[in-house]
Amino acid sequence: MGTVNVAFSIMTQALEANQAALNIVANNVANANTPGYTTESPNFQQSQPLQIGGVSYGDGVTETGATSARDRVLTERLNQQQQTASSTSARLTALNTVQALFTPDSGSSAGQAGDISSDLTGFFNSFSSLEENPANNSMREEVLSSASTLAADVSNAAAGLNSQRSAIDQEASGVTGQVNSLTSAISQLNLQIQSTSPDSDAGTLEDQRQQDLSQLSQLIGVNQITTENNGISVTTTAGQPLVSEGQNFQLTTGSVNGVTHFFVSGADITSQLAGGGGQLGGYLTARDQDLPAVLGSLDQLAYSVSTQVNSLNNAGTDLAGDNGNAGDIFSAPPGLASGNAAGSAAAMSVVMTDPNHIAAAGTGMGTGDNSNATAMAALGNKAIVNGSTPTDYYANLVSQLGAEVSNVQTENTAASASVTQLQTQNNALSSVNLNDEASAMSNFERSYQAASQVFTMLNTIIASVLNLGSQATVS
């Protein structure tokens, strides 16, 4: 009789195992849309066989818990690509705003507002017009008004760049809080995982930890290192620790020379973060490299044009008879004394108010002379800005900026495509596939039904045995 009882016990285990498997399927279906959830599959394990009289008998099945379908190498690779994609995307957003300040001028008519190249041409053209009639007041007014337009557009562009820079600065410092809460969550999860499953995949906890790592990768460039007892240490790309097992190191901010710098454990890691990836890396590259480069070029242009025009104006004779001391047309750049162009674009303005002080005539010449106006008009085609003419220099600035934006765009497209590809691979492996779940469910349901049937049959058999062949008390 022992054998029939064993069969009962085997079927009970089978029912339990299939029920557990159905629970796992139900959990998968329930979490089909949960971010970071990794699909789980049941593990059936054959029970230890019984040895009776030297013969081995199977002793049923147990369900030993769910296994997450996870490839940690793939997720780490995905995280790394995500860092590049986030970094280029943040940088691209910043650069797109920058290039909007320098929209190409499509019109062919002179002097369209807001376009520095037209302003430059218009300004030097106003001196060409002054050549025809150097004493003409309306032409002198034209010089001052085109100078004002140029100065206003250059200083507006510089102001636009500066305000974008501070906006990016704020965005960057806003990232710190999110980074800190994620690193703190990862360190807590490390502790939990180390205590609950030091030797194997921690399932849901691991899902959460991977999800946090993936979010962290969007924000900042990180490396992850698996430590003993299933812990994970996180460092920045340059190697500063952010999470060491159960401990996290806060990213702090401080203002250095008017911009936000980032510190971990007292060390300034701003420059390392800039090349490191993630949103923060992109913001910092834009803030510390891309925008200063454009601003620097604009400063150089403003500095050279202002100083050259001023020095020529002071080398001629104006309508009021000032000879060699007619005064400045543009405000002196802030770094004039030291020859430093920084800040020149933002500070560019016209200080001359009386058009009679434009020195159209050469030194010592009558006021009807135009040789100085000719010289000033010629500045427009002279290599006065770092070895280029003002227009060439500006054209170069525009092409370089455009090429930079285009490069970052290409990088971003490539990184995003790579992320999509890795994401697809990872989804194929780890996300819940409802077709698979449906088929698994049918499978387990049938097994459960079969086990129930066997159980019923066994029950009938035992009833027959108890009634000893007669239809009586037990059914």
């Binding site: 060409s128 040789s371 455009g402 409802l434």
Partner: protein
Amino acid sequence: MRVDPSYVTNLVGSLDDAQASQQQLTAELSSGVSITSLSQNPVASGENVLLLNQIQQDDSFTQSTNLVTGQLQVADSTLGSVVSQLTQAISLATQANNGTQNPSDVKSIASQISGILDEVQSLANTSYQGQYIFSGGQTSTTPFATSTASSPAVTGYNGDTDVNYLVTPNGQKIQLNVPGSQIFLGNGSNNVFGALNALIADYSSGTVDTTKAVSDTTALSTSLGYVSQQRVTIDNSIGQVTAAGDAVTSAQTQLTSAQTNLMQADVGQVSTQLSLSETQQTALEDVIAQLESQSNSLFSKLQ
């Protein structure tokens, strides 16, 4: 093989891309400009700056030529009047010198030549838009004034010898003025005013020193020839300005067409792209709708 179950999401991503591309193409069609941001074509953006610079320089020069031509034409016609006045003075002097005139006729000729002197001086003091055109660089100073303190009277020059040039976009320098001293004082040797003043002095008494008067008349003739030579300089400048203006206008036309080619949207091409993109979008929408309408999960088949 397992597949990514969320492939519809990727299709929606493609749908977004198609819509973004349509937005860009529609913007190109409505603005007529193919490059709306620097990154679309960095090289063309730089080239555009250079082309516009040249076009605007040419545009500005074309406007300048009108004004300059006006000023040069005033100078030319003024010198034309001077020439006819001087011709008249020479014929009067020749008449006075032939020995047939009585003293009162000679005096009358002196007074007529004096009138011519005033006229020539007034022509030499011509201004254009408030600026004296024959005073060199001293355009706010009346260039010529006659002092009668001595006999013969002396007409002095208060301008200078400054010459202005207009520089064309190609760098060609065109002379804009001839200083009055060069035209009317002939740098000393061909002095119009000197000859006129001498003739007035010769005839004012009524008696004529024929030798001196003939020599002064010859001097006036020589000066007249010199004035005509100076007028040629002005005429040359007018010709140069017109030629430069024409050259610049034709260059500007070419540059404008190059700039248009560079920046303007090719309507046919953009429309074709737009239509392709719309077809793609419709196809994607159909695929998505079909995938959504089909119950693409085995669960729907389970009873």
